[in-house]
């Protein structure tokens, strides 16, 4: 008897595939991209009852093999064994939403027509029961001719039975005399068959999804809905600032202690300075923002898992339509609040190419988590910590207005782009609004861990190396007595040219110096400033913990505000540019993106600076 070595999860979007994938593979997951396309490949290890491992892949959700999006194209090719470099999965695990059989059985027939070893997971059967549906899996098994296992991924119900069925799928398929290839049907015929099979499998059915309809009545209400969404987003941004503080303070203290310990243990040397002033001050000043990034991602992941993200798209469609986009762009743009890279990658769900291009071009204007370290340190240094109303802190309000500026800028840019460079017919908005679900802690935890890891890896690689190089450029050649170290260094001399350009918008030499390495990633600006001022300071006062204090004593308020305005627009992220190049297949659009965003950054930083000076701030 041969055991399968590969299996793939296939099913409609919103069938609960990801939760099932998490439940079957646990944290043993590998996430990468399919070569040549920007569709995420999720693979994990499933352990069979015999103890043997199977590589399980989670294929993108599809409505049909007649592919309408790059995601669906990947699913079709992998299942048919046409994807170069990807083995044809030996067993197909077809995931169906138990509460939506009539719809999901349409694609199911297409999958079964392949005549491959298949196991059906009748998923989310608990939600179907909650909705008053009583199902008969045996009747469905009879109709489909393959094993049907009722599962509740999030409660681990049916997983052992499903795993056992996967182990035996291949041998059984060899015995199964049924010839699925005789099925070839047209879409209306399939739909009719799906309706009949669903009817046959439903033993009894009461009124439809009451909870779901009730929630939609409130959350999609034409007046209350948008207010709730705005309130939710406001709470999200307040939380990012307020809840993260104790954790950030603890991390900050840890970084300080580590720096002190190294100073005490090591003899005075260039190497010690490199460690404390370069590595620990630089990387440490970025690591302390991990709590904020985790909180932001927690909100976004919870929105996605609960089904509210699609409602937000529905609510925002009309506004997005005004600027020539659709509600579909809202999800990539909202993801860009976490990071423009997943945001730009999420644009592949947008069918219209011009819509998609516009969304890619404006995605970097959404305030990504990498700007948070920059905003956070400047706000902490220059905006007083006081309240301006019940539950509304001034710092949170400033942060909110920075986010708002990015959104307004993006909308204006979209409007201009859609009537010039990406001119074309307005695109449609067609999407399924999935049922509401309680987000599961485990799925959130896995998602959060994956995002936090990406951030930490960036901190450990890009930010680490940039910080070290910057420290070297800042520390050599050594300053003569009475001369500032920054002035004397290589980097200091190099930044003189840039300083001339940015002086009119209120930026000083240290800022010019920080902007160069921040091209790699925005948050490097913070570590660069920390490194610069640490090198410049006679003692260790100015390491990470003291950066805010240092800045507030050395910068004027107009300069600080101009610096914030700069970062609302400036496209300082190499990874984003690289992703934009890959997604648009060339340098033309990323080059345009760089140009127009830097122009906006310069313009608005200048306006902010001169306005603030004129107001006497």
């Amino acid at each position: 008897m041969t055991r399968p070595r590969t299996a793939a999860l296939v099913g409609n979007p919103n069938a609960g595939k990801s939760a099932l994938f998490n439940a079957l593979t646990g944290a043993r997951q590998k996430i990468a991209n399919y070569p040549g396309v920007t569709v995420e490949r999720k693979a994990g290890r499933l352990i069979l009852p015999s103890g043997e491992p199977v590589e399980l892949i989670d294929l993108p959700g599809s409505y049909s093999f007649e592919a309408a999006s790059p995601d669906e194209e990947v699913t079709r090719k992998v299942v048919h064994g046409e994807f170069v470099g990807e083995a044809k999965p030996e067993v197909i695990v077809l995931v169906l939403d138990a509460a939506n059989l009539e719809q999901h059985l349409v694609f199911a027939q297409e999958v079964l027509e392949l005549g491959r070893p298949t196991v059906v997971a009748l998923n989310m059967i608990d939600l179907a029961e909650r909705d008053g549906l009583v199902l008969d899996p045996a009747a469905l098994e009879e109709a489909l001719g393959v094993p049907v296992i009722p599962t509740v991924a999030v409660r681990r119900r049916g997983l052992d039975a499903l795993t056992a069925a996967i182990a035996e799928a291949e041998t059984r398929a060899e015995r199964d005399p049924r010839d699925h290839r005789g099925w070839h049907l047209t879409l209306p015929e399939r739909r009719l068959a799906a309706g009949n099979m669903a009817k046959g499998a439903i033993l009894s059915e009461t009124a439809q999804h009451k909870v779901h309809a009730g929630l939609d009545r409130v959350l999609l209400h034409p007046w209350i809905g948008p207010v709730i969404l705005l309130a939710f987003l406001f709470v999200m941004f307040q939380a990012v600032f307020a809840w993260a503080t104790p954790f950030a303070d603890a991390l900050d203290a840890g970084v300080g202690m580590l720096s002190d310990a190294v100073t005490r243990v090591m003899p005075e040397s260039v190497l010690r300075d490199l460690l404390t002033e370069g590595v620990i001050a630089g990387v440490g000043s970025v690591i302390v923002f991990l709590p904020q990034i985790v909180i932001l991602f927690a909100f976004i992941l919870a929105m996605e898992a609960s089904g509210y993200m699609a409602r937000a798209a529905f609510l925002m469609d009309r506004m997005m339509q005004r600027v020539g986009l659709s509600g579909r762009s809202f999800i990539p743009l909202l993801s860009s609040f976490a990071c423009a890279i997943p945001g730009i990658m999420a644009t592949r769900a947008i069918a219209d190419p011009k819509d998609r291009l516009t969304t890619i071009l404006i995605a970097p204007l959404m305030t990504c988590s990498a700007r948070l370290p920059v905003y956070a340190v400047i706000i902490a240094a220059f905006i007083p910590h006081r309240t301006v109303g019940p539950g509304i802190g001034l710092q949170g309000l400033v942060l909110f207005s920075l986010y708002l500026s990015g959104i307004v800028g993006a909308m204006a840019a979209a409007l201009v782009l859609r009537s010039t460079l990406t001119k074309g017919a307005a695109s449609g908005f067609i999407m399924e609004l999935p049922r509401y679900q309680m987000p599961r802690l485990k799925d959130l935890a896995i998602g959060l861990w994956q995002r936090a890891w990406v951030f930490l890896r960036r901190a450990g690689t890009i930010i680490f190396s940039v910080t070290v190089v910057l420290w070297l450029l800042l520390s050599f050649p050594q300053a003569a007595p009475g001369q500032s170290q920054v002035e004397a260094s290589f980097a200091g001399q190099a930044s003189k040219g840039l300083a001339v350009i940015v002086e009119p918008i209120g930026f000083n030499r240290e800022i010019a110096l920080a902007l160069i390495p921040a091209m790699a990633a925005r948050e490097v600006a913070v570590s660069s400033l920390a490194t610069t001022y640490a090198v410049d300071a006679p003692d260790d006062d100015a390491t990470a913990s003291g950066l805010a204090a240092t800045l507030s004593s050395r910068w004027s308020l107009p300069t600080a505000l101009a610096f914030l305005a700069w970062f609302v627009f400036a496209p300082q992220c190499l990874s984003t540019i690289a992703v934009a190049r890959r997604e648009t297949n060339g340098w033309k659009w990323p080059a345009f993106m760089l140009l127009y965003l830097f122009a906006l950054a310069y313009l608005f930083a200048g306006l902010t600076y001169w306005l603030a000076v004129a107001l006497g701030l």
């Binding site: 309408a68 719809q103 798209a313 529905f314 009309r318 067609i430 999407m431 399924e432």
Partner: protein, 83 residues
């Protein structure tokens, strides 16, 4: 007696059956997507919600146990017969 109307003009909560679709009014990709979601001739539908602030765009359409968001232009291309 039933009066044919379009899905766009259908009052909220009223159940209806799609009797004709003007495919020419829809982009091919849009037609494909609508069909994949089951919005095709013969489907029983109802309008559950309409867009925000008194605007009528987009629409949340109930089809089977699913809710699908579509734009007014799509709904206007679908002729329905109230049930």
């Amino acid at each position: 007696m039933t009066l044919a109307t379009t899905l766009e003009a259908l009052e909220r909560g009223r159940r209806a059956r799609i009797v004709a679709i003007d495919w020419a009014a829809l982009a091919p990709e849009e037609g494909k997507r609508l069909r994949a979601l089951g919005l095709d001739i013969g489907a029983r539908v109802a309008v559950a919600h309409r867009g925000i602030f008194g605007g009528r765009d987009p629409l949340a359409v109930l089809i089977g146990r699913m809710t699908v968001a579509v734009r007014r232009v799509h709904a206007a291309a679908m002729e329905v017969e109230p049930l």
